[in-house]
Symmetry: C2
Amino acid sequence: MTIRKATDQDWPRIYPFYATIMGEGKTYPFPERQTLDEGRPWWMEEPPGQTVVAVTGDDTITGSAKMGPNRPGRGAHIATASFIVDPACRGQGIGRALGEHFLSWARSERFHGAQFNAVVEANHPAVHLWQSLGFRIIGTVPEAFDHPEHGLVGLHVMYQKL
Amino acid sequence: MTIRKATDQDWPRIYPFYATIMGEGKTYPFPERQTLDEGRPWWMEEPPGQTVVAVTGDDTITGSAKMGPNRPGRGAHIATASFIVDPACRGQGIGRALGEHFLSWARSERFHGAQFNAVVEANHPAVHLWQSLGFRIIGTVPEAFDHPEHGLVGLHVMYQKL
């Protein structure tokens, strides 16, 4: 597996599993049922942020991450990111590799810390993965996510200093 | 004091104290040094959100608030808001009135809860005001705000169920 910067041409190849994951509605408070064009600005980051893809040897895209400053102005020294893995490729460590790539990028860009604003508490694999990569739960906003199976569940704010 | 919905014509009258407050850099991780046109989409909310102004009897604008869903999709049942008061009009209860107006609006719109994502911990008047209106601190992201006087200070996530 290789992780490289995404190009404009990659978006139509990311979009199918982006749409699947957002349509499942279990992991991100993103708009659902976005078209190809509607979803593009939600996932393809402009500088100083970036979007990357995880690819196999034949350049099949198996996952993607977008990253950048969490806030503008006086909050721009904290990085944030979002991650999606093609459901057909789960369990292969792609999410972990993307997470490690994000932290490496954030350190190289001299961010002071890394923050996830809305980790669905019912998404145990993600919570455990981020904890294993050094994040801790700062707090949990109760009932802030409308889960299709579990109803209203909390959203964790997770953080680590870099 | 009256609170009413802001019109497009109000923005040039909000902008002077918006620019002053963002330029002071003590309360919001917003872009600084925005022009009139750059700042407009950051403050003037589109439906389902709205922007309101506090006005005196002669329609002088003394403060403003913007409010709307905190997140799209499966997070859209939680409301959020931001508040600014003309520095020349501080200490008159305008922030409190705008905060009460926001909570009233969020309840009438059937939001499930209200969340502030980034309350500067050094902004004690705001923290105390929101606590007095029913918000509690869910957690504090350390060193997430670059304060011009205090250096890196935390950002509180504050919440209340409605």
